[in-house]
């Protein structure tokens, strides 16, 4: 039966190859990338184990293993719906004993690019102990237990949380939280390593240097010896304990590792039993909004209808509201990013950057509408109404947000003399990129996460189309922004107030001209390609 599940999973994987060429290429690239990374890590670890310091190997395997387990356990919570090919609910009508189902799903869970990479990596790095056969054996057992911890723990958590994960409200909250977390990873890592360097060296002014690695080892060893006793790291630290000859420690960690696996199995078993007899249902309590909302506050015309609908979606659809929630974080991120180099350049560039990214965010609006766009087609909404309608909320909100970002950044950097040129740049870029988006979204439609899906999930096989469309949009925006950039940079270099004022005037006037022309062009393309646009979104996977 377990073999049957494996065959099923392999068939499903094989069939994705048949669906589209791009998907196949994407899969191959992902596989090559994973194999390359695994190979590099394995070779480095073996080299360290054979030629270098075996103590390092023990620490590296334990800490790396902990990160792997954390990844396996947490990522599915945020990136929901990523792999539902073997959803247990689909097997609920077959009379499969639960024990068999569990074993089958567990093994099948390993048949994926991340699964295979984990197996290869776990077994591969154990070979670092090749000089000590006894330790090697213990380490291999540890690797197998570690893999089991990853898979079983991951399944236990997702199955246990399934009732929560399936509710729309929760998914929307988690989506935004995950997006913000993902944005913060860079600065957090920078901040942590800074902190570690400071605490190790005791002297922040000293620039670190060659000795850093050696000095960090005791800290990492401390952390590793601690996490080695937790469910996350117990299995991975078995080899290290054997190497150190710590037999009591080995027995203790083995007990922790086995208990973790047993508990995960038990939790999964119970949760699955419960979910199989209780099919997924909506949480019943639907969201409500009183009255007409934005629709009651705009003039009654097709243009303003589209504007009100777009504004509603900006607030209510996590695919849009997620990107709004990130904007206040950008100055913070840029602040930390710039801190390591000691210059405020990154921070000061935030304002213009926000203007550009805001305008860019509506560049695939029809893709986001998905087939709901059929209403526009059957109503015969004309291009001008559709294009302007989608641009209006951006033109109402964008200038305020980019101006606020500029003010915050010059305030933090204490560079008030740059306010005017930066403001001009931000407004100019906002207007130009909004215009380019209005033109591009009538021509370059590419698949994105469907309504209700996690924005972190990008549809398979769409990478190339996304890359081409976004790249093209970027190049065109950059080219059309050159006049504004030239004036703005001149103003910053010269530092004169007059040039600053000129930047604002040029930015706004030039931006408006480009916007009007681009919208007109976009409207014409839209009118000509209306049914084709609908057919395009209908063909999305």
């Amino acid at each position: 039966m377990v073999a049957r599940f494996l065959t099923l999973k392999l068939t499903l994987m094989g069939n994705t190859f048949r669906r589209s060429v791009w998907q196949t290429i994407g899969m191959i690239v992902a596989t090559l990338y994973a194999l390359g990374t695994v190979g590099l890590l394995v070779v480095a670890t073996i080299f360290a184990g054979v030629a270098g310091n075996p103590d390092w190997v023990a620490v590296a395997i334990t800490l790396g293993g902990v990160l792997t387990v954390v990844g396996w356990w947490l990522i599915p919570i945020f990136a929901f719906g990523v792999d539902a090919t073997l959803d247990p609910h689909r097997f609920s009508t077959f009379a499969i004993p639960r024990r068999t189902l569990l074993a089958g799903l567990a093994v099948a869970g390993l048949v994926s690019v991340p699964g295979i990479a984990t197996v290869l990596l776990a077994l591969g790095v154990s070979l670092a102990w090749v000089l000590e056969p006894g330790v090697l054996l213990v380490s291999l057992v540890g690797a197998v237990l570690g893999i089991a911890t990853c898979v079983l723990g991951s399944r236990a958590i997702t199955t246990l949380l399934a009732p929560v994960l399936e509710s729309r409200r929760y998914r929307e909250v988690v989506t935004i939280a995950a997006l913000m977390l993902a944005m913060m990873i860079g600065p957090l890592v920078g901040w942590l390593t800074n902190g570690v360097e400071v605490s190790v060296q005791g002297d922040p002014a000293d620039g670190g240097g060659a000795g850093t690695g050696e000095q960090l080892l005791p800290l990492f060893e401390q952390v590793a010896s601690f996490v080695g006793w937790t469910p996350f790291g117990a299995a991975w630290s078995l080899g290290g304990a054997a190497h150190a000859g710590d037999w009591a420690g080995l027995a203790g960690r083995l007990a922790v590792a086995l208990a973790t696996i047993g508990l995960a199995w038990l939790v999964w078993d119970r949760a699955l039993a419960r979910s199989l007899v209780r099919p997924p249902v909506g949480d019943g309590s639907g969201g409500k909004a009183k009255g007409l909302g934005p629709f009651g506050r705009v003039p009654f015309s097709p243009t303003w209808a589209v504007a009100a609908r777009t504004a509603t979606y900006w607030l209510r659809d996590p695919r849009y509201s997620g990107s709004i929630a990130i904007i206040p974080l950008l100055p913070v991120i840029m602040y930390f990013a710039g801190q390591s180099t000691g210059s405020f350049f990154m921070l000061l560039a935030t304002g213009p950057f926000v203007g550009w990214i805001l305008g860019f965010s509506i560049s695939n609006d029809i893709g986001y509408d998905n087939t709901a766009f059929a209403l526009h087609v059957s109503s015969g909404v004309d291009g001008r109404a559709d294009r302007w309608g989608r641009a209006i909320p951006m033109l109402a909100m964008g200038p305020l947000v980019s101006a606020a970002t500029v003010l915050v950044s010059v305030w933090i950097a204490d560079s008030w003399h740059l306010t005017l040129p930066l403001l001009g740049l931000a407004l100019g870029l906002l207007l130009v990129s909004t215009g380019v988006s209005c033109a591009a979204s009538a021509r370059l439609v590419y698949p994105v996460a469907k309504p209700g899906e996690s924005p972190l999930k990008s549809p398979q096989g769409a990478a190339m189309a996304t890359f081409v469309s976004q790249g093209l949009g970027f190049v065109i925006t950059l080219g059309l922004s050159l006049p504004v950039l030239a004036v703005g940079i001149t103003a910053i270099v010269l530092g004169s107030v007059v040039w600053g004022a000129v930047t604002v005037v040029v930015g706004v006037l030039y931006g408006v001209v480009i916007l009007v022309l681009a919208v007109r062009f976009g409207a014409r393309v839209y009118d000509r390609r209306l049914p084709e646009l609908l057919q395009q979104v209908q063909s999305f996977p």
């Binding site: 639907g286 409500k288 909004a289 009255g291 629709f295 009654f300 609908r309 059957s378 609908l534």
Partner: protein, 286 residues
């Protein structure tokens, strides 16, 4: 509504399926001219998706004021044909006239008199039911008072008043169908084209919708519904066309098409595919 002579001409609905052997457009010249008085008149519609020809040379006249049923097995090309006749999908060949207006030459004018309920498309479901109806009305360029009045009427009629402020994404399948139907009707179109309007709708709501559609037809409107529930079409419609494999097999008044048989038997005769074997002998109780 329409005068006697043209109605007579339309009632006999010329059926002209292209001979299967001629996949080109050469046949287009031989097609009879479109009927300007018909609510919907299509000539020689073709559509191909990749290797599959979904619709091959469909010509059909839907007389004004009729309740027209479009029946056919799954995958017969009903949805593709209706999409091409309502401006949602550009045909490879052929065109459609809506009350004498060439849809693909003057789409805005033709679409203004059409109300469309497409099958298998999403709605703007982050809006509440009331907002969605309002949005549909505004997109049609209607003024505020009319939109507000008609939105209230539609919510009342479709029994959605209690859920007017709930997001459409949280609606059940039947409620979603009803709100989509409301969005298709809000601008009081002369012709309603409804693709599978009764799917997932509960019997009480379905009966209500039938009454609404009947009185709409009595008032001079035209309704075109696609369905694969023969019984429903036989009871509800006065005209019917049978479509299979992208071609019209029969069209006309319901009585003309079914003759002495029930519509369902006639349909099976036309489409074929019934198996008269013993079938799954092992399934009978042991």
């Amino acid at each position: 509504m329409s005068d006697g002579t043209t109605t007579l001409g339309a009632m006999t609905t010329p059926v002209d399926p292209n001979p299967p052997g001629s996949p080109g457009t050469q046949g287009a010249q031989e097609l009879p001219p479109h009927d300007p008085s018909a609510a919907l008149s299509v000539r020689g519609l073709w559509k191909r998706f990749g290797q599959k020809i979904a619709v091959s040379g469909v010509s059909l006249d839907v007389p004004a004021g009729s309740f027209y049923g479009l029946v056919g097995p799954n995958g017969a090309g009903k949805t593709t044909m209706l999409s091409m006749a309502t401006g949602l999908l550009r045909p490879d060949f052929g065109t459609a006239w809506v009350q004498g207006v060439d849809l693909w030459a003057r789409p805005d004018e033709a679409k203004a008199t059409l109300g469309v309920l497409p099958d298998g498309v999403r709605l703007f479901d982050r809006l509440t039911g009331r907002q969605l109806l309002t949005y549909a009305g505004m997109l049609r360029g209607m003024d505020k008072d009319t939109v507000v009045d008609r939105t209230n009427d539609l919510l009342q009629t479709f029994d959605l008043v209690a859920d007017a402020d709930t997001f459409v994404v949280d609606y059940s399948a039947g409620m979603t169908k009803k709100i989509a139907l409301g969005s298709a009707m809000i601008h009081a179109p002369r012709t309603l084209v409804l693709d599978e309007p009764f799917e997932a709708v509960d019997p009480v709501s379905a009966a209500n919708i039938r009454d609404i559609l009947k009185s709409y037809v009595a008032g001079g409107g035209t309704v075109i519904v696609s369905s694969h529930v023969m019984d429903l079409v036989q009871r509800m419609c006065d005209h019917v066309a049978v479509i299979a494999a992208g071609q019209v097999l029969a069209a006309g008044t319901v009585d003309e098409v079914r003759g002495e048989q029930s519509l369902e038997d006639r349909f099976v005769d036309l489409v074929g595919g019934r198996q008269h074997s013993e079938g799954l002998s092992w399934l009978r109780g042991s």
